[in-house]
């Protein structure tokens, strides 16, 4: 075959590439097997990132040619565009509330589950089930649950605690909290991850702590949390990125336009509207890059701080 003759002639030149014949052969095979990914990386990630950066400095509506406008998009964003600022505020607000609350809840539930009780798999399944619900169904279901007059949430609040529930999605002051509440229903994914990592913590450490006379809170603080800190680190970053990117849920709940009163205009929604409703592709790209930079800074900060609180058990 032509391929093998080309191959063998390349191989015979191996020395010129500074490696042995075997190394070159492995390199070629490695590249060949990895080629779908390499092509994919270039075509679906690398190239779009670069062109997105380019477009962010242009005005482009796809229907007509792109027009270079330099930093205009960025200037407009920060100075003139109220919706942008609202969207940034909304997404950040949501992330700041949901990420810590979600992590603490998930760890707590996982720790409760880790008690070697009967029925642990059943509980785990129950907590995980909501993760499977498609976003659309999830949003619609919770819109119904949080209906101010007829929803289950408000009626339970009244029946059990005599609390008059808020307007949730209908109330601009409560709509984001409604999204937080709904998102807490899906912490099952994190619970499963934390549970597995908790089960990896060696019992010897707890025994040693018990011999030292620590109580339950101290052993959590000094044994459990440090031992699962790498996993906390991982879920913190993914949760932060996911929260800032959140699109489907607020989009569906607010019928696409952030109602009521823009309180649910999340960043990704504003981006979507700019791109696909107003056809301001260039502007949408600059919004995307601002988001990218924010995510990078956030990730970097967490990385930096990680040396102080993340403990790698190593060997």
């Amino acid at each position: 075959m032509a391929v093998s003759s080309v191959g063998s002639s390349v191989l015979s030149r191996a020395k010129t590439f500074g490696m042995s014949k075997l190394e070159l052969k492995e390199l070629l095979w490695g590249l060949l097997f990895a080629s779908p990914w390499i092509v994919g990386l270039l075509a679906f990630t690398g190239w779009p990132i670069l062109s997105s950066l380019y477009y962010s400095f242009t005005q482009y509506s796809v229907l007509s040619a792109s027009k270079w406008v330099g930093l205009d998009n960025y200037a407009t964003m920060f100075v003139h565009d109220d919706v942008f600022r609202r969207a940034l505020y909304n997404s950040t607000y949501f992330a700041i509330i949901f990420v810590p609350v979600g992590i603490v809840s998930a760890i707590t539930v996982a720790m409760l589950l880790n008690q070697k009780i009967r029925g642990q798999p059943i509980y785990r399944t129950i907590y995980f089930l909501p993760v499977l619900v498609p976003d659309v169904a999830l949003s619609i279901l919770w819109m119904w649950l949080m209906n101010p007059q007829l929803g289950l949430v408000n009626s339970l609040l009244w029946e059990l605690f005599k609390i008059q529930g808020p307007g949730w999605i209908a109330d601009p002051d409560w709509s984001k909290s409604a999204v937080v509440l709904m998102s807490l229903w899906t912490i099952g994914r994190s619970v499963v991850i934390y549970l597995a990592s908790l089960q990896d913590v060696p019992q010897d450490l707890y025994d040693a702590a018990a011999v030292d006379g620590t109580n339950w809170w101290q052993s959590i603080r000094n044994v459990t949390l440090p031992m699962i800190s790498p996993v906390i680190f991982f879920t913190f970053i993914t949760s932060m990125i996911g929260s800032l990117q959140l699109f489907t849920v607020p989009y569906i709940m607010s019928a696409g336009d952030g109602r009521p009163a823009q309180s649910l205009m999340f960043y990704s929604m504003s981006l979507y509207r700019n791109a696909f409703i107003y056809f301001k592709m260039g502007y949408a790209c600059s919004m995307a890059w601002v988001l990218f930079v924010i995510v990078l800074i956030g990730t970097l900060l967490v990385f930096r701080s990680s040396s102080r609180w993340v403990y790698y058990a190593g060997g």
Partner: protein, 298 residues
């Protein structure tokens, strides 16, 4: 000796039996306490599901009744066929199944090939590629969303299923990561023995690694299926012809048009969610294993 100490009235002699009893009581309390918290929580977690099904079976009158009706009577099963009549459920279901199946085929083939390269072929730069793959996980999809749309529209692919299917044939960082971790657990002796016998990489891949990796491949297939089934943004951006909609998209438009028909909306949601829940119950272990692997081997 211990009996004597007991008889002398010393409080709680330090016998092994007493210590064991104390430990047992403590453990019992801890278990009871855990159940005390876990059970109500589990009920709260299940409640929305219950409410979804309950609403789906309610009559018009009972949906809007106050105080709330928990168990509808009569059970209006007719809501289900009625909901389907309102939007082309079966058509959308077929569309979604088609897209999902294609994506699964693409993901399993491409990701296993790449993972093989990263795990079983020793070449310079493979670790760099791997770290690059992991790094791309952190890029918000919005960054590539617009240029991809522009490119796809230049190809004339907007309005077809191609933008939703083709990318899965080029690997996905997450699945490659999972598979690579798994492939690395395949004993090197096995692969070396095959190499000594003169097997080439394609043969090793096809006849040794793939068969052994069936559980991991199944996990990938499951996750890709779930992702595509529930994907909303992709179809939203690329599908314009309502005959081509997926179930997620269809449900959203249904809701926009009939916002107060809650019982039919719930019925449709049940039908959308039901298949996945059922699938999950048959593949639980695979699911859970997949999720844990993502979080742990980071």
């Amino acid at each position: 000796m211990t009996q004597a100490a007991d008889r002398l009235g010393a409080p709680r002699a330090l016998t092994l039996r007493n210590l064991k009893k104390k430990a047992a009581i403590k453990r019992g309390l801890r278990i009871a306490f855990s159940h005390l918290l876990l059970l109500p929580l589990a009920i709260m977690f299940l409640m929305p599901f219950f409410w979804m099904v309950s609403t789906a079976l309610k009559s018009d009158r009972q949906v809007f009744a106050w105080p709330l009706v928990w168990i509808p009577s009569p059970l209006v099963w007719k809501n289900f066929p009625d909901a389907i009549a309102f939007f082309p459920f079966w058509l959308y279901l077929r569309n979604t199944a088609f897209i999902a199946s294609c994506a699964v085929i693409g993901a399993v083939t491409s990701c296993s090939l790449v993972a093989y390269s990263l795990a079983c072929v020793r070449w310079r730069g493979r670790d760099v590629l791997f770290m690059l793959a992991v790094a791309t996980l952190m890029i918000p999809y919005q960054v590539t969303m617009v240029p991809l749309f522009i490119t796809f529209s230049k190809f004339g692919w907007v309005g077809t299923y191609l933008p939703l299917i083709v990318p899965s044939f080029f690997g996905g960082a997450f699945f490659i990561f999972l598979l690579r971790q798994f492939f690395r657990t395949i004993p090197n002796d096995l692969i070396d023995a095959a190499k000594i016998d003169g097997a080439s990489h394609p043969r090793i891949y096809a006849q040794i690694v793939l068969p052994l990796a069936k559980p991991a491949l199944f996990t990938i297939a499951l996750f890709q299926f779930l992702n595509t089934w529930t994907d909303f943004t992709g179809p939203l951006i690329y599908l314009s012809d309502s005959k081509m909609y997926t179930v997620s998209l269809g449900l959203q438009f249904f809701r926009l048009q009939h916002e107060t028909m809650w019982q039919k909306l719930m019925a449709a949601s049940v039908m959308l969610t039901g298949p996945i829940v059922i699938l999950f119950f048959f593949t639980q272990r695979t699911f859970i294993q997949g999720i844990t692997m993502t979080g742990l081997k980071g």
